[in-house]
């Protein structure tokens, strides 16, 4: 009985792995075929030296970092407050944070254009920096489901109420409690939310394209529509970057958490 269920587990694992790896392998193999005679990394050279790639990737990375920072500053106090003082509002807040998964990105963009277009009361879309700000805000909205779930789970794991009361009894004000007791103890939850946010922002297409900003998503689409081998190379590069970020975050999380230190 036991060996058959283990066999089943291995078979499922093999099928799943093949399902994920085969397309990747095919893409990688195709990306090496730019030179007619044999395998080479020509496509990668072309992509990495393209100034468009560097500019758009840099832009999207910067947007991702800003999104993460703003998102954390918004979500951590909210999730903390809801858990501590307003547990009855939790279902409502959860519903709100899940809206971006249901409402298409295009709706937000059209809303923006209606509210902030150049002939409205707050013409943010007329200015590049202001439009960047709008884009970042829409990214924060997109990232909300992941950030909120992750941080909410992290908070529930640490008995927020008792820790807060202990800190209060020792004379700590709310900012001190948030900074010195809450934030450090949800670090790994924040990091995993941050990783998901990074992945979402880097590849995002609709909003960046419609707001006309030079992000990585539109660049990927452009290359994909016009070139053959370079898009495959780009896809592999994007995967590499994502996995590297994931790896780095795991490394930081391991070092940041004292629970991993041996006595």
């Amino acid at each position: 009985m036991k060996s058959t269920s283990r066999m089943g587990a291995w078979v499922a694992m093999a099928i799943g792995t093949l399902y994920f790896l085969l397309p990747l392998i095919a893409t990688f193999e195709f990306s090496l075929k730019m030179n007619r005679d044999g395998y080479s990394f020509e496509a990668y050279k072309v992509v990495l030296s393209d100034p468009g790639f560097q500019a758009t990737f840099g832009y999207s990375t910067l947007m991702a970092v800003l999104t993460i920072l703003v998102g954390i500053l918004l979500v951590v106090p909210t999730a903390y407050w809801v858990q501590l003082k307003l547990p009855r509002l939790r279902p409502l807040v959860e519903f709100i944070t899940l809206l971006p998964l249901v409402i298409p990105a295009i709706v937000i963009v059209f809303g923006y254009l209606k509210l902030y277009n150049s002939s409205s009361w707050l013409p943010l879309t007329g200015n590049e920096r202001a439009t960047d700000f709008l884009l970042m805000c829409s990214y924060v909205t997109l990232a909300l489901p992941y950030l909120y779930r992750s941080i909410d789970a992290g908070l529930r794991a640490i008995d927020v109420r008792t820790l807060t009361e202990a800190a209060e009894s020792l004379g700590a004000s709310w900012p001190s409690i948030l900074l010195q007791v809450i934030f450090p103890n949800v670090k790994s939850a924040i990091l995993s939310g941050a990783f998901l946010t990074f992945a979402v922002v880097i590849g995002e297409f609709t909003m960046a394209s419609l707001l006309g900003r030079p992000a990585f998503g539109p660049y990927l689409q452009l290359i994909g529509a016009n070139r053959a081998y370079e898009p495959s190379a780009l896809a592999i590069i994007a995967f590499m970057v994502t996995w590297a970020s994931m790896g780095l975050i795991q490394v930081f999380a391991r070092n940041a958490r004292p629970a991993r230190k041996t006595a």
Partner: protein, 334 residues
């Protein structure tokens, strides 16, 4: 003048009254225990003193100041929680020093005071350890040290020992009481364990369903329970109903007759002493230093405790005995 006074404290959650007209005054340096079963309101009163719950009505005064609506940060109260509530991201030194850091003391003073209190709770050598690296008893001592180092006006302990095993509990009990005496700290201790309450307190408040059933010194509460609830809760009182009391002791009462198991004398079956009752041993349990017998007399089963002096003392089931109960050891309760 009393150091801490509570007047007509009342707490209601929606339409459920949790604390009902609670009154108390304690002197500086006193060790007071709130004793009662789960849900009796003892923790709620403690939390209102700490400032984590707002009373529906009533007043709390410490050293003359009305603190009823003051924030917890300003009350000068030290609290030890049942779950220790140590900050997982800080080591022992940082945990203990947290309160002093919040008061903006300089680092030299913090280091000095923390070292002092670590010695006091006997945790030397553990300064750099994190909470997850400590045992339950050690964590509780860190929690205690953290509350003591800020020199609070009042120390509150919310069932701090209930998560610990028996031997550690005993040691910590003595340690807490010892430290409290040395520092002369006004202390309120909440527990559902009557042995803890009896061994540690100057005074006990026995609570039930939001009300104080009895308040007094430990010996008094134990030997002279005021109500049926207190008699049932403290020790293993025999509580005889009116009919049983009449049949066994020939007395007419309205409530219950409370008799402590250790106050029933067991005599040999042929004893000629006056005022004894015939009894048969039905069961016995060895509790270590005490042997607990269930002895039947006139259809009533009584619990009788005797010291376990020697192996030959153990009376087998079925033995006929005579029981003697002094009138002073019988107490009517309602």
């Amino acid at each position: 003048m009393a150091y801490l006074t509570i007047n007509n404290l009342h707490k209601r959650f929606d339409d459920h009254v949790v604390v009902h007209d609670f009154n108390m005054s304690i002197e500086q340096g006193e060790f007071v225990t709130f004793l009662g079963p789960s849900g009796c309101g003892k923790t709620t009163v403690l939390r209102m003193i700490a400032g984590f719950e707002t009373p529906t009505s009533g007043q709390i005064r410490v050293g003359g100041d009305d603190i009823t609506h003051q924030s917890p940060q300003k009350r000068g109260i030290g609290m030890v929680f049942q779950s220790y509530a140590l900050f997982p991201n800080m080591n022992v030194t940082q945990n203990i020093g947290f309160g002093l850091k919040m008061r903006k003391c300089d680092s030299a003073e913090i280091a000095r005071k923390v070292a002092e209190v670590i010695k006091l709770v006997e945790l030397s050598g553990k300064e750099g350890h994190y909470p997850h690296e400590l045992s339950g008893g050690q964590r509780q001592r860190v929690a205690l040290a953290r509350a003591l180092v800020v020199e609070p006006r009042i120390l509150l302990l919310d069932e701090p020992l209930s998560a610990l095993d028996a031997r550690i509990r005993k040691n910590l009990r003595e340690q807490i009481r010892d430290i409290q005496r040395r520092l002369g700290l006004t202390t309120i201790f909440v527990t559902h364990d009557q042995e803890e309450a009896l061994t540690m307190s100057d005074r006990i408040f026995v609570m039930n369903q939001g009300k104080v059933e009895q308040e007094g010194r430990a010996e008094m509460v134990y030997t002279q329970p005021a109500t049926e609830f207190v008699a049932r809760f403290m020790g293993n009182y025999n509580l005889l109903g009116a009919a049983d009391t009449n049949r066994l002791l020939g007395l007419d009462i309205q409530g219950h007759m409370a008799i402590r198991p250790e106050s029933i004398h067991v005599l040999d079956a042929h004893s000629q002493q006056a005022d004894t009752l015939a009894g048969t041993i039905r069961q016995h349990q060895l509790l270590g230093s005490i042997i607990r017998y269930q002895i039947e007399s006139a259809g009533v089963t009584l619990q009788v405790d005797r010291l376990n002096r020697s192996a030959s003392d153990l009376m087998p089931v079925g033995t006929q005995v005579r029981l003697q109960i002094s009138r002073d050891d019988m107490r009517e309760v309602r």
